[in-house]
């Protein structure tokens, strides 16, 4: 039997040693409640399972030339990352409840928290949340707890999938969640000011936003702070290799999706939600936190700390219900940031911007193609306005092996011709030229 070591003889010996019969083990379950047999296939040996799964994998178009982003990106992943996270001392360990045999995990958590703080220019970070969407939800809940208020303003350029998640989670909680319509591809200052009231707990923005546009939201932080509210910024960590940080813009809580930091696309997960904040809000932050302390001999060591916030201590009064998070993904992100390093991350970010800029120039040479938001600076993603429906164009190119981008009409009214194009450092000049050529032919 796979993965079970006992022989029948050993089972007999063990039962005999403890004076039980096999049927005694489940005697407490009334016979009428027991399963008569599961309607499932018989088990397969390893080689057949590999063949089967290989066939399934081959029915997925993972080899498309990808200009599809929308918050999830095909970045270069160094081989050393897999070697590091494949160390079974890391990946087969549980949450580090016993610090003396978990210093590897705990120190990595502390280093990850440090790297996130350095990247975002914030003061404290947790050891991970599930993903970028639940991270915004947790940040909103945190802002409600900190301010004691009930209204939250969410800019509509925050990833529309995340906004749907936030609506699901907060639907029953009596929270006044207001989504603020876009203004020329950026957060609508006038409308935010208009809806901002005494009961506003937080303003939530994304930078670069869902359209790829880069903004400086310092003014929104000033507005929030003037009235005792918080600024929550969701960001794309690779962009922080060159872009002004949420910390420098006065953000109070910074969150984001960490998939771009060395994690594969993996059809939507596992990903990594990161969160950082300012020291006064530490005790309202959800999730695991590692801290440095001393042992009895005065040696440095690491433990999980500030646990009085957490569900295993506070139960229904906890800041969040989160327990298992995305530990190995946080380790992946730390390994990525360490391998790329100070200079490398800046270069990757600049390369994304350079290649996107080249792609934009190349695509705008096509007749009838223009930028939807020409006044905005972008990072590695931008919105093209096509002379025809974007979904029609995408369908045609997909059949030729190119994922040209995302049709914004799926989430935004009046954007039927808008195509969201993402360019990472992985795309070559040749691939960009091919996209341009195919797009030109298809129009």
């Amino acid at each position: 039997m796979p993965f079970i070591s006992h022989t029948d003889e050993e089972r007999r010996a063990m039962l005999e040693a403890i004076g039980l019969r096999a049927e005694d083990l489940f005697a407490d379950i009334p016979p009428e409640l027991r399963t008569k047999g599961l309607d499932l296939p018989r088990g397969m040996p390893e080689h057949r399972v590999r063949l089967h799964m290989n066939r399934l994998a081959s029915r997925n178009a993972s080899g498309l030339v990808g200009f599809l982003g929308g918050g999830f990106y095909d970045h270069f992943v160094p081989a050393a990352i897999d070697a590091i996270v494949s160390r079974s001392e890391f990946y087969t360990a549980y949450t580090p409840y016993q610090p003396e045999v978990s210093q590897g995990t705990l120190q990595a958590m502390y280093e990850y928290q440090s790297a996130i703080c350095r990247l975002t220019e914030m003061e404290v970070a947790n050891a991970s949340l599930y993903d970028g969407g639940t991270a915004i939800y947790e940040a909103i809940m945190m802002s409600l707890a900190i301010t004691g208020r009930r209204r939250v303003l969410v800019d509509e350029t925050v990833n529309p999938i995340y906004r749907k998640m936030i609506r699901s989670y907060t639907g029953n909680l009596g929270i006044e969640l207001m989504e603020i319509p876009v203004d020329g591809g950026r957060a609508n200052r006038a409308r935010i000011a208009e809806h901002f009231g005494e009961n506003t707990a937080a303003i939530v923005v994304q930078n670069p936003n869902f359209f790829g546009a880069v903004d400086d939201v310092t003014d929104l932080g000033d507005l929030a702070h003037k009235h005792g509210a918080l600024l929550i910024v969701s960001c794309y960590p690779i962009s922080l290799g060159i872009l002004k940080t949420p910390g420098a813009m006065g953000a109070d809580i910074v969150v984001g999706e960490g998939q771009s930091l060395g994690l594969g696309l993996s059809f939507g997960g596992p990903y990594l939600g990161f969160m950082a904040t300012r020291t006064p809000y530490l005790r309202k932050m959800p999730g695991r936190i590692a801290g440095r302390t001393l042992d009895k001999q005065g040696r440095d060591g690491f433990v999980m700390t500030i646990q009085a916030r957490e569900q295993h201590i506070r139960r229904e009064k906890a800041t969040s219900n989160i327990c298992t998070n995305e530990g190995l993904c946080a380790l992946t992100a730390l390994a990525y940031l360490s391998l790329l390093g100070k200079q490398g991350l800046r270069e990757v970010a600049q390369m994304c911007a350079d290649k996107a800029s080249y792609a934009q120039g190349r695509l705008l040479r096509i007749d009838g193609v223009r930028l939807r938001f020409p006044k905005r600076w972008f990072f590695n993603e931008f919105v093209l306005e096509l002379p025809t429906r974007a979904d029609r164009v995408i369908r045609g190119l997909l059949q030729k092996g190119v994922a040209a981008g995302f049709p914004l009409s799926r989430y935004y009214a009046g954007m039927e011709n808008s195509l969201l194009v993402a360019v990472t450092e992985n795309r070559t000049k040749e691939e960009i030229d091919t996209l341009a050529h195919m797009l030109e032919v298809s129009l």
């Binding site: 999830f72 360990a93 210093q103 280093e111 059809f267 997960g269 070559t428």
Partner: protein, 482 residues
């Protein structure tokens, strides 16, 4: 070990990024740029690999040795599942592809994995359908409670309260509370079971449901389960099963047949995916027929021609709980595991898990207090009360086990057992391993009587000794900033 930041040498480079073959460079205006580069480490690739190899050696993993952490089901994580999750067809697949026109055809294999997992888990748990979206156990609980809320809303019920036993995992009350419910605790009786009188007293029109771990956190199956379910249903409440302990039941009995309406399962427990030192996990949620319409968006459905598609048009759905389809990489691993086990292998899981737990129970019973002396399911909970009389606590026993090469069991949980030692051996451990662990536990019990200091001074073999938690919480040092 030095922090990775302390090993940094100015100007040193690790992995070189992709080259710029487009020949252009864009200058984003300085007002939008960061002032200084992020102070990340500057190291060679070898420096980085050595650093993390060094850290890994300070860790104890399941592959290092016995890991009987109760309620966590630390069974062997088959290596082939790691290999398959890395197949490019799975690992490099963009989650937005099926949202493109005709894009579902580009992810057929992935949709089949999701659909098949739904079928397998539904059959194993006796449910009508599963969603794969919840990203961990507690996330599954929240999803399940949101489904409860949607059900009651659709029926026009005004329900405010969720009942939870005092033996429950902390995540249960936390999940119920953040979904907007008041939590009412139901005490356990002297046998460690749900106190029926207390349950009857707590049940009223305001009760949305009961969250129960099955078998419970004492590792015991509640023989009153059907009556409990009947009573909760009579109050138009729903039965939620915390499936963290499903390893005790797979192939033997199905929570749906016991009267549960909702269950979350932990793929990183029962279904052998690695825990990763704190995730990623996955907490798929299964529901009874009457709740299927409330499942989160999207749902993988089969068309008449047999092809699969994602259904986003679900008017009664609770909406989105995850951006896409769950922790897909984890789901691929669990599916691979299930294919290898098959129906006959699943039964052997619970049979051997329960045998191993009872073997440990019977062999240690004379040496440690056993507050609930019954045949257990997949785990057994002892108390160190006897040892405490000699000044040796559950924590000390845990540290003494570390020095003997074992990961300690879960300690101080469940809360209803004083000085709890919660041991879950799982089915994948051999008799020799169990015997060695039992021998170590007996030796520790003996030393606790004859030489308590030999236990209270442990661990002595680890890179650090017992750490100062109070200092960590009072003088927080949570990041190395620059």
């Amino acid at each position: 070990m030095k922090l990775i930041f302390e090993k940094s040498a100015a100007g040193r480079r690790g992995v070189r990024p992709v080259e710029n073959d487009v020949g252009t460079s864009v200058e984003i205006p300085s007002a939008l740029r960061r002032e200084r580069p992020a102070e990340l480490p500057e190291l060679s690739e070898l420096d980085v690999v050595r650093h993390f190899t060094g850290l890994s050696r300070l860790n104890f993993g399941l592959d290092s040795g016995f890991y009987p952490l109760g309620s966590c089901t630390m069974k062997y994580n088959p290596k082939v599942t790691e290999q398959i999750a890395r197949y490019p067809g799975f690992a490099h697949l963009h989650p937005l592809l099926p949202q493109l026109p005709d894009g579902e055809a580009a992810v057929e294999g992935a949709l089949e994995v999701l659909h098949e997992m739904d079928r397998w888990l539904s059959e194993i748990c006796g449910m009508a359908a599963f969603t794969m979206q919840p990203l961990a156990g507690a996330h599954g609980e929240l999803t399940g409670v949101m489904i409860m809320a949607a059900y009651h809303k659709a029926r026009g019920n005004r329900k405010t309260t969720i009942l939870i036993p005092d033996s429950a995992h902390g995540t249960n009350p936390a999940s119920a509370a953040i979904a907007g419910y008041t939590v009412r605790t139901v005490p356990s009786n002297a046998d460690g079971m749900t106190d029926m009188e207390a349950l009857k007293a707590a049940l009223n029109d305001e009760v949305a449901g009961l969250m129960l771990t099955c078998p419970n956190t004492l590792g015991l199956f509640d023989p009153n389960i059907q009556e409990i379910a009947d009573r909760v249903h009579a109050a138009d409440g729903l039965m939620y099963c915390d499936g963290a302990n499903l390893n005790a039941l797979v192939g033997v009995c199905r929570p749906g047949d016991l009267g549960f309406d909702i269950i979350h399962v932990n793929l990183h427990k029962t279904f052998a995916t690695p825990h990763g030192g704190g995730g990623p996990g996955a907490g798929p949620v299964g529901v009874a027929r009457k709740l299927v319409e409330f499942l989160p968006i999207s749902v993988v459905c089969k068309r008449d021609d047999g092809s699969l598609h994602l259904d986003y048009d679900r008017p009664k759905s609770i909406g989105y709980v995850a951006p896409f389809y769950g922790n897909f990489g984890v789901i691929v691993r669990a599916y691979t595991y299930l294919l290898m086990l098959g129906r006959e292998g699943l039964v052997r899981v619970s049979q051997n898990a329960v045998l191993n737990a009872n073997y440990v129970r019977a062999k240690l019973q004379g040496h440690y207090d056993l507050p609930y002396d019954r045949i257990c399911k997949h785990e057994v909970v002892f108390s160190a009360a006897r040892q405490v009389a000699r000044g040796v606590h559950a924590l000390d026993i845990a540290k003494a086990l570390i020095d003997r090469g074992f990961h300690p069991p879960t300690i101080y949980f469940p809360l209803i057992v004083k000085e709890a030692l919660m041991i879950e051996p799982t089915e994948t451990e051999s008799k020799e391993t169990l015997d060695a662990f039992i021998e170590a536990m007996i030796e520790i019990a003996r030393l606790a009587q004859t030489d308590p200091k030999a236990i209270t001074e442990c661990p002595k073999t680890t890179p650090v000794g017992r750490l100062d938690d109070t200092r960590a919480a009072r003088q927080p040092d949570l990041a190395s900033l620059k």
